[in-house]
């Protein structure tokens, strides 16, 4: 329980108190089974709750951290039970079932017992290393030293061997930890494509042959106000520097993220998307007349929001922070794993800053000549207004180009290799996917002297009539360009991808997809419901009530069935005095040689197994004989017998110790 000292100390107290108290319970196999059921239910519930709160990949380490308290019922049954082990078949439903069946059939089934304490100790070690404060450099050496100390005090022999073993274990632990971290990062990246999001750079498939594959899972859900239509495109990020198979942001000084301005309007706080605007513009951005829609989706730290290109302001989002860079990319630090809020748009402003004259008109040298040819061919210079130019380009792409996800254009990694991927696309193959169209349009506009940028995001196209909302999936991911409209001092969206791309999307209406959608929807709705302040209190109270109820029930049952540990353990049913003989002192030594005595094996028979290794075997026979008489003969013992047995036991003990 690293990082949670209170819980850890409480657990340790409960487990270790067993040594100081004589309070015991007579737990049988059924009780072990019940404790295991309780444990599995607790683990299941905890896993579910943690999974709902984060993702599966993140949930596993957290569940491991919480394993010690979750496994407490099992350890409790062992620590406070009369036996010092648990039957193995407790842990498997099938084994338990088989055992019951065997009992019914009268078949002999000897049960393997294990000491759960060892397992619990391992769980504690594992849970500790997964804890919140376990990343310090001192943690692993500390754990190793503590374990070494524990082992040394428990076994007390062979410090050198222990040191070597612990060193090896320590090295393995370091390697294991590094490996686990790597694995978790890798899995995390694989599981959610968004965690790999970089607001400063995006790699494209331009110049790389292959098939564009995207996840069909729902990313955002958008609910427009009644009788309004949603924006066609939602942007997540914008880039302005074209490189081989990638776009990034230049100059680097403009990459920094800054907190959004907030403004109170009619007692509601708004986040203003456009930066450094005046009072008038801010008022306009929160205006009542602006169309608005509700945006809902899972988010974690630094998740980019998908917003319309002319987004004005945001409200109702529960966030720890929200910031944007000069390119208009907005990212959030949410309070909870699911966020929801209202987006106001058509504010006649752009979230991004005005263009940077050099960077937003820059064309890589190898492309220049080819682009000049294209611009000339289209007679763009002859078109008087921006709208005319855009119309010409749009028509050209619609007529001459074909949309495909099966990419065949291949070029080397360098833009200087001719023909470039862009040249192949524009002049030869004339087939590609949105990244080609967006990149090409951006470069053509720049060649025509119009500042343009490359934007990525989603197309809003799938309406869910049942829920009166639009769903945005991974497969709706899109790229287009942002054009600077100097007349209105505003950036506008310009999408040149032929409209046919919408028809090429893979069918989404599979049973699996529908199930995934429903689960995602349920999960998000549940979280939003739970996170509302009023519900949060109710949920906490409800869960606490259930938890306390179960705890109370278990405690009551336990309290009723408790019993004191007698000074000597006797078999059930006999309450009379139990005679101790000096030979009983041999039990600990004999256990080291013979292992623990099975409950049904008489003491004398068990000790006789020591015979082959003993020189004084006659002494053993005699000692056992006197022991039996003292122990089981109700007649009063002879006066010297006890002394003689003491002497024999001492002699035997020293011989057993010598080995």
């Amino acid at each position: 329980m690293t990082g949670r000292p209170l819980t850890g100390i409480l657990l340790a107290f409960i487990v270790e108190s067993a040594h100081w108290t004589k309070l015991r319970w007579d737990f049988d196999e059924e009780d072990c089974g019940r404790a295991w059921q309780l444990t599995t239910i607790a683990i299941g519930l905890a896993s579910l709750l943690i999974y709902l709160d984060t993702s599966l990949i993140n949930a596993m380490p957290i569940v491991l951290t919480w394993l010690p308290p979750l496994l407490l019922p099992m350890q409790f049954v062992q620590s406070y039970g009369l036996k010092d082990s648990l039957p193995v078949n407790t842990f498997s439903f099938l084994a338990k079932h088989r055992r019951r069946r065997n009992l019914r059939l009268g078949l002999s089934g000897s049960v393997i017992h294990i000491n759960f304490g060892n397992l619990y100790f391992v769980t504690i070690l594992m849970g500790s290393t997964m804890g919140t404060d376990a990343n310090g450099w001192f943690f692993l050496p500390g754990i190793i030293v503590l374990t070494g100390w524990l082992l040394l005090s428990a076994s007390g022999s062979r410090p050198l061997a222990l040191f070597i073993a612990l060193s090896v274990a320590g090295c393995l632990a370091v390697a294991g930890q590094l490996g686990l971290n790597e694995l978790q990062t890798w899995l995390g990246n694989r599981a959610s494509g968004r965690s790999a999001f970089d607001p400063n750079s995006v790699s494209t498939m331009v110049g790389r042959p292959g098939t564009v594959a995207l996840s069909p899972d729902i990313v955002w859900r958008l609910r427009p106000a009644p009788n309004t239509s949603p924006p066609a495109l939602l942007r997540t990020a914008t880039y302005n520097n074209y490189g081989p198979s990638s776009w990034d942001c230049r100059p680097s000084t403009d990459k920094h993220f800054k907190d959004l301005d907030t403004r109170l309007f009619e007692n509601d706080p708004y986040f203003i998307l456009a930066q450094g605007t005046g009072e008038q513009a801010q008022l306009q951005a929160v205006g009542k007349n602006l169309p608005r829609f509700n945006l809902r989706g899972a988010a974690s730290a630094e998740t980019p929001l998908a917003l319309p290109g002319d987004g004005a302001s945001l409200r109702d989002f529960e966030l720890d922070g929200i910031e944007r860079n000069s390119f208009g990319t907005v990212r959030v630090f949410p309070k909870h794993s699911v966020i929801e809020g209202t987006v106001l748009w058509k504010g006649k402003t752009s979230p991004e800053n005005p263009p940077i004259s050099i960077a937003d008109l820059d064309i890589p040298i190898p492309e220049r000549e080819m682009l000049k040819g294209v611009v000339n061919e289209l007679h763009l210079d002859a078109a008087p207004t921006l709208e005319d130019k855009l119309a010409i380009i749009r028509t050209w792409f619609q007529r001459e180009f074909r949309y495909t996800r099966e990419l065949t254009i291949s070029s080397s990694g360098s833009v200087f290799t001719k023909p470039t991927a862009m040249a192949q696309f524009l002049t030869m193959s004339r087939a590609g996917h949105c990244e080609y169209f967006a990149s090409a349009a951006t470069l053509i506009l720049r060649e025509a002297g119009i500042p343009a940028r490359y934007a990525t995001g989603y197309a809003v196209m799938e309406r869910d009539a049942k829920h009166a909302e639009f769903v945005i999936r991974g497969i709706h991911g899109h790229a287009w360009c942002r054009v600077w409209d100097a007349a209105n001092s505003q950036w506008t969206d310009f999408d040149t991808t032929p409209g046919t791309w919408l028809e090429t999307l893979p069918p989404k209406d599979t049973l699996k997809q529908r199930f995934n959608d429903a689960v995602k929807r349920l999960r998000e709705d549940f979280f939003l419901w739970r996170n509302r302040p009023a519900n949060r209190l109710a949920v906490t109270l409800f869960m606490s009530a259930i938890g306390l109820g179960v705890l109370g029930f278990v405690l009551k049952r336990l309290w009723k069935s408790k019993r004191r540990l007698e000074a000597e353990k006797s078999f059930i049913g006999y309450e009379g005095p139990v005679i101790r003989t000096p030979l009983h002192a041999l039990e600990a030594q004999a256990e080291k040689r013979l292992g623990p005595r099975p409950p049904g094996l008489p003491f004398g028979t068990w000790l006789l197994r020591l015979r082959p290794g003993l020189r004084a075997s006659n002494a053993l026979d005699e000692a056992i004989e006197i022991h039996q008489r003292l122990r089981f003969d109700p007649a009063p013992p002879l006066p010297t017998e006890r002394e003689k047995l003491t002497e024999l036991a001492r002699q035997l003990e020293s011989e057993i110790k010598r080995g």
Binding site: G106, G576, P599, P602, F632, D633, P634
Partner: protein, 311 residues
């Protein structure tokens, strides 16, 4: 002459006839000393009858009677019958073979349950009630019954109540090759049991029985006996569990066995050694257990293994 020497003499005499079975012989003799009866269940030819004969011959003055149980055997064939004597004009009682010291009930499961049950009172209470009149049996009344477990045709399984009257059920089983060769050479001339001379008297047997009753039995071990027998009750594989009579028999047989061991108190090892012989035959297994191949003796062994023994 000490008690244990008498016991050993008897044991040695019987063992000289019944070769290679010292443990069974001792347990059967202990059963007799404890006042119980024994059921020998074994395949034919393993020496069941020889054992019974050897015991009776080794005891001087002991009356030995043998009844071959057949389907047409009647209760009066065992207990006796009152016959009208025309001379004295009254009924005269002709005692049946049950009035004896040692009774060999050979192939007991061949007689009808009615006849088998004629033995109930005799075995349980050492008395016989015939025509409303009670007759006490001999003080050493020891029934050795045999039955053959492989034959089912024409046999009547013993009723549970009858099974419960037997203190022990054990089997002789096959002996080692060397012992079997020795048996062959023993019987080359005459059967050794014919040559066996009595080694103990009836009175000595009665003394042994009294000595067995005097063997000390600690309170804790009484609880152990009850725990062992009690474990058969509530066991999911056992339909009819062992009765308190089983606990009593287990105590008495262990005491008698202690006499043969030369001990004057009972140890848990002794109880464990005879527990299966004393308890297993009284139980009726649940049908699924019966057909699963589980043995009652193995179940008792499991119970012994799992019941905590006083140490």
């Amino acid at each position: 002459m000490s008690i244990s020497a008498t016991a050993h003499r008897l044991e040695a005499a019987v063992c000289s006839i019944v070769r290679g079975q010292p443990e069974v012989v001792r347990r059967v003799l202990a059963c007799m000393i404890s006042g119980g009866h024994v059921l020998l269940e074994d395949v034919p030819g393993t020496g069941k009858t020889t054992l019974a004969k050897a015991i009776s011959k080794a005891i001087g003055g002991a009356v030995f009677k043998r009844v071959q149980f057949t389907p047409d055997l009647l209760p009066s064939d065992i207990l006796g019958i009152s016959v009208f004597d025309p001379r004295s004009q009254e009924f005269r009682f002709h005692a049946g073979p049950v009035f004896t010291d040692i009774l060999l009930a050979d192939e007991i499961n061949r007689a009808s349950p009615r006849t088998q049950s004629a033995l109930l009172e005799a075995m349980g209470e050492r008395q016989a009630t015939i025509d409303g009149k009670r007759y006490d049996l001999d003080s050493i009344f020891f029934v050795i019954a045999t039955q053959n477990p492989v034959e089912f045709r024409g046999t009547y399984p013993l009723p549970e109540a009858q099974m419960d009257r037997f203190a022990m059920q054990c089997s002789l089983g096959y002996v080692s090759a060397a012992e079997e060769a020795a048996i062959l050479s023993d019987q080359a001339g005459t059967h050794p049991v014919d040559l066996l001379e009595p080694v103990v008297s009836r009175e000595e047997i009665l003394e042994l029985m009294a000595a067995a009753r005097r063997v000390r039995f600690s309170e804790e071990l009484r609880h152990y006996v009850v725990a062992l027998v009690g474990a058969t009750r509530g066991h999911p594989a056992i339909q009819l569990a062992a009765s308190p009579r089983a606990s009593l028999a287990l105590m008495k047989v262990s005491q008698a066995l202690a006499v043969f061991q030369g001990d004057d108190f009972v140890s848990p090892e002794l109880i464990q050694s005879v527990a299966a012989d004393v308890i297993a035959h009284r139980m009726v297994l649940a049908p699924e257990a019966k057909y699963s191949g589980a043995g009652a003796r193995q179940m008792i062994a499991d119970i012994i293994e799992q019941t905590p023994v006083p140490v």
